[in-house]
């Protein structure tokens, strides 16, 4: 806390605040991500496309576009966005519905992308996360004290996000994005709800429900799998059951996570050295995607992993600091939404690759390969930087 206060004191010399720390952390994460993408994907990219830098180049283009958008957006006053609140919701819904049209693009058996010009694809779920942040920030502000009564509380927590969440789940079969969207809304309400008891009650019920499902699957999971093997979405149950005993499911649902553990376990304190991962040689399929953190662990060891987690913690801390200092609830909620998005996604990803939670496809923000993801994350950082700019020094708490 002392450090924070000293930092703020230094900032007081100028009258406008720009969070260079946040900018630096984000740029560092992206640059580091590009290196890791090259390391993780060059072998397969060389074999498949004849260009070891194939994935890195595509990611760099998306990051560059995202960077321009980020800087541009950081100049726009945050209040401006509140004028288009219903638009965000409609955009999210329309983009998700576009997945049902021929504009969509399938990969790995899931419909998650919309074709754009120039061979690039857009993932509507990534847009939906941004849209939900902007939409809910305004809704929660407008609800104000009313958020304190059960009816309004439940509408805010469930009724608004549910259509989007269900569409992500139903159309693009993307459980992790659905969880993230819901998680963002939950964290925003967590911060804003006047009656904290309600938040805690819902949290307790949710945690209890998750625990109950896990206990049931722990004891009856294998039986369920045997009797309902034809049920749609049964693979999700398999993933949870595989989570209990990875080696038993080493050839199917446990395969990816087990390979990830092999990679992490091979890393040791300082890793094998950049580029020296063995697991990226097709042992972990598409190592540049969701499992990139395990390659990072294998090559850079516990030290590398610790540094990356610390970078995310600094990023979250900067968001917290900005949300803290802004006098405007709407801006604060936008920042909390972005912070929630990045925190949930980063920590869930790391939890998945370390088999702390069952496997669900989730990418590591700024580092995993994925153009839509990085571009829209940078737009979100642009929003946070914009909020930061609005802080008049000496105007905050003193």
């Amino acid at each position: 806390m002392e450090a924070i206060r000293r930092f703020f004191a230094r900032q007081k010399k100028e009258n406008r605040f720009f969070d260079f720390t946040l900018l630096f952390v984000v740029v560092f994460l992206i640059a580091f991500g590009l290196i890791m993408i090259y390391s993780a994907s060059s072998y397969n990219a060389g074999l498949d496309y004849g260009d070891p830098a194939y994935y890195m180049k595509r990611q760099a283009i998306a990051a560059a576009l995202g960077f321009v958008a980020m800087i541009f957006i950081s100049f726009i006053p945050t209040k401006f966005y509140a004028k288009f609140t219903p638009v965000y919701y409609i955009v999210a819904i329309v983009l998700l519905l576009l997945l049902l049209t021929p504009l969509s693009h399938d990969a790995n058996g899931a419909t998650r992308w919309i074709r754009l010009v120039g061979g690039f694809n857009l993932q509507p779920a990534e847009v939906a996360k941004l849209c939900m942040i902007l939409f809910m920030a305004d809704i929660i502000c407008k609800m104000g004290k009313n958020l304190g009564n059960w009816r309004q509380f439940l509408i805010a927590l469930f009724a608004f996000p549910l259509p989007v969440v269900l569409m992500i789940l139903g159309i693009s079969k993307n459980l992790s994005s659905a969880i993230i969207v819901f998680g963002i809304v939950y964290l925003m309400i967590f911060v804003a709800c006047p009656d904290f008891k309600k938040v805690l009650t819902v949290t307790a019920i949710g945690a209890g429900a998750v625990a109950l499902v896990i206990v049931i699957l722990y004891f009856f999971g294998e039986g369920i799998l045997e009797n309902f093997s034809e049920m749609p979405g049964v693979y999700r149950i398999r993933r949870i059951v595989a989570w209990f005993d990875l080696e038993k499911y080493a050839s199917d649902e446990g395969f990816q996570t087990l390979q990830s553990l092999y990679a992490i376990g091979s890393g040791g304190a300082f890793g094998k050295g950049l580029g020296k991962s063995m697991q990226k040689l097709k042992y972990i399929p598409e190592a540049q995607n969701d499992m990139i953190f395990s390659i990072l662990c294998e090559e850079l060891g516990l030290f590398g992993a610790f540094c990356v987690i610390i970078l995310f913690v600094i990023l979250i801390w900067r968001c917290m600091s900005i949300a803290h200092q802004t006098k405007d609830l709407y801006s604060a909620l936008v920042v909390v939404g972005v912070m929630g998005h990045i925190a949930i996604q980063a920590f869930l990803n790391i939890a998945v690759v370390t088999n702390t939670i069952p496997n669900t496809g989730i990418s590591l923000p700024f580092i995993s390969y994925g153009g839509s993801s990085i571009a829209f994350l940078m737009v979100e950082i642009g929003l946070v930087l914009g909020v930061g700019r609005s802080i008049k020094l000496g105007d905050g708490r003193s």
Partner: protein, 582 residues
Amino acid sequence: MQERNKTRHHSRIFILFMSLLLVASVLICRIGYIMLIRGEYYSERAEQLHERERYIKAARGKIIDRNGAVIADNRAVCTISVIHSQIKEPEKVIEILSRELSLPEDKVRARVEKWSSIEKIKSNVEKEIGDRIRGYNLAGVKVDEDYKRYYPYNDIASKVLGFTGADNQGIIGLEVIYDEELQGTSGTILTLTDASGVEVENAAETRVEPVKGNDLQISIDMNIQEYATQLAEQAMANNEADRVSVIVMNPQNGEVYAMVDVPEFQLNSPYELNLAAYEEEPAGEDYQNALNAMWRNGCINDTYEPGSTFKIITTAAGLEEGIVTPGDSFHCPGYIMVEDRKIRCHKTVGHGSETFTQGIMNSCNPVFISVGLRLGVDRFVDYFQQFKLTEKTGIDLPGEAGTIMHRAENMGPVELATVSFGQSFQITPIQLITTVSMIINGGTRVTPHFGLRTLAEDGSVVKEFEYESVEGLVSEETSQTVRELLEKVVSEGTGRNGYVEGFAVGGKTATSQTLPRGSGKYIASFVGFAPAEDPQVIALVIIHNPKGVYYGGTIAAPVVRRLFENILPYLERMNYNEQRAE
């Protein structure tokens, strides 16, 4: 209100941040646990996954005969395979491989175009062709050198030597018994590969060189073995016999000079049946049974009723016990009554009055029945055991058959009578020759064997094999008496056809009807040794199911005579016993 909102979300944001910090700490602990505590386990598993072990076959040791002639050798051959992902010019590869290996093009195409880490095209390719294919320098084509067992003598001593399987391991015969000595240690190349098995470039290879197996020197003399095989084949042809077995051994130490069991089989193509012998080609289980029958070594794997050759053993027991002397008188009316059974002599009119010496010369059954009855069941059984007839000889070949004998408590005088002249029980040929050796060599039971020593590549001795021998099982006097008696059998008795000019040969004939009696099938045999006063070589010839004349003295004894006529001067020259003593 604004102010209250603000403080509220301030504290909430702080709670949120602290919770996230907690999550981050948990994850760091989790990663630390996986990396530092479970790291060894996971990295070991990962390494197992990444490493591919390629074996380098060790050259199998040679088998050489007692004079150094190579009887089992290795020939360098090549295995040609393709690695799909490394092939750059598939059409050229298909064209060259199908031409060089004379394989149909579509067959090669199927293998080349199959997506697999490594696909074998052909193994056991001549080294010359392998070198030529290597010369084309085709990407993705692998030429691995390999060894294939090769037997220069082909079918000679096939049932003794045995052969090896695809992994260089012995399947039957000496190749099995001395597998460990011959095998050597295979080398390995450890390489790192990606998940599809493609080797990672520039990764360090760990290479462990293979160690060649030791050579095995055996007691067989290929000259004797070849000649014995020739004689056996002639005897089989002349007598239209089913099978002819010949064992030639040194009775003093058990070294086998030759072991023949015709028909033999082709060692270089052990899985090809001699189809001429079958009306239709056997299939499935029948095929395997036919192969097993073809590989079977009748000298040790099968038992037979020894017949009159066994009278040597009855004689030794009688002499040893002192219940008979060569001069004892007997009378043979052509039969003998044992209890209520009339057992006939082969000479139906009878031999009349005769001494024991004449009895053995005539191979007179009543004489030996009388000796057997004088011994009685208990003493006979004791001698049977003392002579180790109930134990296996311990020869260094797999699958030696045991003796099939009456249980002492089930033996009455009739059984005793039949056993006395070699019927109603079964032993292996190797058992008979080993026991006769013991009786004529002064009472030492030797272990018949082939393996003499293992040699390193430079010819130095690695290991000299030792074999058990038990002395004093019969007295020297008995041994000498039996030798003299058996010499008389050859010089004046039923074994006259075994007589060799210039050598004192001892021996005994046998003719026994096979079970069931009355089938008209006989086994004719002769066991002979020389020189009679100090036996240096003993030979047993067994002719199974001859047509026409079936008397051992008529058809088996001449085989031994012809064998001895050739090998006795040869053995004198080679002087193997002297050699060993040096």
